[in-house]
Symmetry: none
Subunit: 202 residues, 4 copies
């Protein structure tokens, strides 16, 4: 494979560029949420974004880079929210902090569930990308940091499990038609706390 970059082609310097770039991502997100990967093609995205196909390729070197940018942007937002939550709960105990961060993630998921899931599937099929991998690591690292502070054993695995519990339940809930994020948060809390209880020394 001739190494297809997953990062945008150039940083938009002019105001107009920013708009175009954003319109493309927005259109792609919309299509992905509505029709999944199947319906996502560059011509379609460009048309929906009200932009010519040439402009699209001015900013994104290939189709995958659009999906990559979308994943990156959403995860960056999530990271910011998680950091905020971590700070807010700083004073509280381990359980409270972890719950807060997981809750943020769930709410994030519930805000655009179809998109969240389409992106998650898309990422799994995307060729490995260093940037995205790092970013993913950073999300886990936030939990790892908290766990480590409390001397939890093997914090990486624990962090991964905790996040996975939330993700799994969120997907299933959305698929089943649920739309009340807080109801799910409560259930996930039970699972997460149950999972943590035996390994957190009191």
């Amino acid at each position: 494979m001739p190494k297809a970059p997953l990062t945008p082609r150039k940083a938009p310097r002019q105001e107009r560029s920013r708009k175009t770039c954003d319109a493309i991502l927005k259109a792609a997100a919309d299509i992905l949420a509505r029709e999944g990967q199947t319906g996502l093609n560059t011509n379609h995205v460009a048309r929906k974004a009200g932009v010519s196909i040439g402009s699209l390729y001015q900013y994104y070197p290939n189709k995958q880079s659009i999906v990559g940018a979308l994943i990156h942007a959403r995860r960056a937002a999530l990271l910011a929210e998680m950091e905020q939550a971590a700070e807010a709960a700083e004073a509280a105990g381990l359980d409270e902090i972890v719950r807060a961060m997981v809750a943020v993630r769930l709410r994030h998921h519930f805000r655009h569930p179809r998109l969240a899931e389409a992106l998650s599937r898309a990422e799994a099929e995307l060729p490995a990308d260093r940037d995205l991998r790092q970013q993913r690591t950073r999300v886990e690292a936030m939990i790892v940091a908290v766990l480590a502070e409390y001397y939890v054993d093997d914090p990486e695995t624990v962090a991964r499990d905790v996040l996975a519990i939330g993700d799994g339940m969120a997907c299933a809930a959305v698929e089943a038609g649920e739309s009340d994020a807080e109801a799910l948060v409560a259930r996930v809390d039970r699972a997460v706390l149950g999972y943590l209880a035996p390994i957190v020394g009191d």
Copy 2:
């Protein structure tokens, strides 16, 4: 869309047909596990199966029906295993039965993790199919039955959550490079029991 059927074109009655059908599914499974959806195309499948593209279409009306058949076949196997597990654990308490069934599912996943995940992603993108939906319901129904017997409230949601916890953790574990199913089973148990504890009257 003119509503493409997802089920095989005809039930293969003859020995020869069976073999062809199986070879096709096997080839598709292999490709899906190795290369994901991206690498899956009918010509490739036919060649790998040692079958002409014409024959492939004799048995499967379209590409999606192959994926559909694959999902169906694997889930049928899972169902059988779960039934067996349920019977074996019948005498035990609620926790034990649920744990047993979840464990079966995890081991099933770990047997062919790349395939399991590719299929799960594929199913999410497939157009809704009555047959597959029913089958999925049946898996949940098995847990629901057990829960109901123990007077658990809203057993459908609980069943869904329990399965989702296992699925989520399994995907994350595989992605992280784990390969020890039993280690994961233990961790999932913690989460599942923690989740169940408050809602199971003792």
Copy 3:
């Protein structure tokens, strides 16, 4: 570059395939002769060949391979003619043999001058291909063999020069509107013999 093969994709086994393959080459030759590289695109070729674009790609993995095949085929024919000429002139002296071979080449060129030149230009822009390079060497080798037999010094350079004289004059003649191959043969003879005279021991 991801290594684009210049050789046909598969050898046609059925009668029908042969026809398709040939029709494609013929169409490509026609377009190349009439419009040059500029007018050569796969859709155009397919249409003119009375073949679907899909069929074209069944036999030629990419556009360049069509041009490559064309070059190869024409040069193979030339080689055959040159061999014949060499045999026929075997008894004669060095001059005679070389003249005969050069004459064959000129006549070959004059049979389809626009095509010959378009292909020659195309080959220069094509990525280096081992197969074509070898074939080109073989043409020169035929002259080298004759020269070596007569103890000519540095036969490779001499062979190259002799051929180049003919090629250069042929291109210029065609471009100027000449169409009488034999008139040109006579003039090329003068140049070639003049070139050889000082280096051929008498």
Copy 4:
């Protein structure tokens, strides 16, 4: 086609314009020499020239006009050199003058062989342009003039042949990796003199 002009849009009168024009031609020459026609595109040229794409189109109405200008400029330089050579050899005999002019051409070719050949191929594919055709004629006319002075028959054909011999041998030599212009000059001399001998009355 709406008849695209091959000549620069306007004569650059100001110093600034001259520089831009030249930078564009230089960049185009460089790309053409390095990558051939394939790599030549207007955006690439503009970037390499350190000029905006808009400015490029200010001076050259289309891509072909850039190539045309390049051909024109190089051939103008060649013409000047040939004139100089003709003057210098004026006193000598026919052979000497012709040899001198051919030698100039060969050295010109060897100074930038990749470019010379790329341009020659490009010119062949360019739509006929009156300006370039005239210029080409002028090169031949210089030889024709000398030949006519010596009462050579059909001087146009002879001039064409003589030039073609040199061109053909130069291309082949460069392609074979030769880089010693003088060595080639000697060989071309042999061919040219051999060609001329029978038709020049002594």
